[in-house]
């Protein structure tokens, strides 16, 4: 299990979702990905994308105007 980080700041939806999806492709089940973004839409879209594709959203909060999401990669 390892921790990873994705900087999706300044990207507009759906780009943060696409980057998250492409990054998770290369991760193993149980890995943690922290995504940082600035588009407020991402706080809806990334959780929705996680639900659909079987990943768990551990947390989603705002920090200094940035949205930080922590995702645990699910098994297939």
């Amino acid at each position: 299990m390892s921790e990873h980080r994705l900087d999706a700041r300044r990207l507009l939806c759906p780009m943060p979702v696409i980057r998250t999806q492409d990054r998770i492709k290369d991760l193993a089940p149980g890995d943690i990905l922290e995504v940082i973004c600035t588009d407020p839409g991402a706080s809806n879209d990334i959780p929705a994308w996680c639900r659909i594709n079987g990943h768990s959203l551990l947390s989603c909060h705002e920090r200094d105007g940035e949205i930080v999401l922590r995702i645990e990669v699910g098994g297939d």
């Binding site: 780009m15 979702v17 696409i18 999806q21 600035t38 407020p40 839409g41």
Partner: protein
């Protein structure tokens, strides 16, 4: 025999949702695919403007996939899409929408995905006669042929009006339980939605992207004319969705934030553009695209002042910051409203 698999083009609208549901009901494993061209109508782009609007800020494609209980793969095709938009073999629709080439391109990308992932066929929500360009009896075969998908492309909503495709001939799906929708009426879709118990779906009016929008298309053409080059970057086409656009002189354009949400969004572009804002009173953020000379810069400052809260004051101070972040201040008289020519607006 293992379960057959279909990949479904999900736009976020009702038709692709119904087409997918129709195939899911026949016991096929379906996953969705959605293409981001950069021109897609996104709830969030509207949300830039009105943060507290009542409509949910959702991505419709994701929402549809969740309602249907299928996976969704969103593919970034921004770069590849340029050649579709810039040189469409079949030309444009009413505005800058190259629908026929666009559909062919998307089905071709879905075909690549299908082959890479071991899927069997492709489904779309197309309906004969629904759209003037891409969904005509004579253009549906063009999409199937030019994409290379041929008879692996199934349109569940109008399949009964078309020759049987591979999934039908092989008995993977039962042709009798597909549909025969045609024409512009939305009634059959509404009825089917009701039968499936679907509510609250999105019904985009013109099409699935900004290219069917007249004023958006005008801004895109203006951009090409001003740069003397038909090309664009993602940032360019995003900014075409935001703010008031004014071209007071051929050599430069102003993008003026209309309210807080837009100003905030535009702040992200301050390093790429020369920009202005009023310092003696509250006002919008203004991005300047192009290379105004000193005189034009003063005109731009006067326009900026005109759109600030100091519009009725004799003098307003405007900070001008270049791309390197170097600022200076100009003191100008706000331009009287009657001096803003209507044709400046794009």
């Amino acid at each position: 025999m293992s379960k057959r698999k279909a990949v479904s083009l999900i736009s976020g609208g009702l038709d692709s949702m119904l087409a997918t549901k129709t195939i899911l009901e026949q016991g096929i494993h379906v996953e969705g695919i959605n293409f981001f061209t950069g021109f897609c109508v996104e709830g969030h782009t509207h949300a830039i403007r009105k943060r507290d609007q009542k409509k949910p800020k959702r991505n419709n494609a994701l929402w549809v996939a969740e309602q249907l209980g299928i996976k969704l793969h969103i593919i970034d095709v921004v770069e590849e899409y340029k050649s579709v938009l810039l040189n469409p073999r079949h030309g444009y629709g009413a505005n800058m929408n190259p629908c026929l080439d666009c559909k062919g391109f998307m089905v071709r990308k879905a075909l690549e995905w299908m082959e890479e992932n071991g899927f069997d066929f492709i489904i779309t929500g197309e309906v004969i006669g629904q759209r003037p360009m891409s969904q005509r009896r004579d253009t549906l075969p063009v999409i199937a042929r030019e994409s290379g998908a041929n008879d692996r492309l199934l349109r569940p909503l109008c399949a009964k009006l078309l020759p049987p495709t591979l999934p039908e001939r092989e008995g993977w799906v039962d042709r009798e339980r597909l549909h025969d929708f045609s024409g512009r009426s939305r009634k059959p879709q509404m009825r089917l939605a009701a039968r499936f118990g679907l509510k609250d779906y999105a019904q985009p009016a013109g099409g699935c992207c900004f290219l069917t929008d007249k004023s958006y298309s005008d801004r895109l053409v203006d951009l090409w004319q001003a740069r003397d080059r038909r090309d664009y970057e993602l940032d360019d086409i995003m900014l075409l969705k935001v703010g008031r656009h004014l071209r007071p002189r051929p050599g430069f354009k102003m993008i003026i934030g209309r309210e807080q949400g837009e100003n905030k969004f535009m702040e992200g572009y301050r390093r790429q553009f020369m920009h202005m804002h009023t310092t003696s009173c509250p006002g919008p953020l203004v991005l300047i695209d192009g290379r105004p000379d000193e005189q034009e810069l003063e005109l731009a400052a006067r326009i900026t002042a005109r759109f600030s809260q100091g519009r009725d004051q004799a003098r307003v101070r405007v900070a001008v910051t270049d791309r390197n972040g170097v600022s200076r201040e100009l003191e100008v008289a706000p331009l009287p409203p009657q001096d803003i020519a209507p044709e400046w607006h794009i």
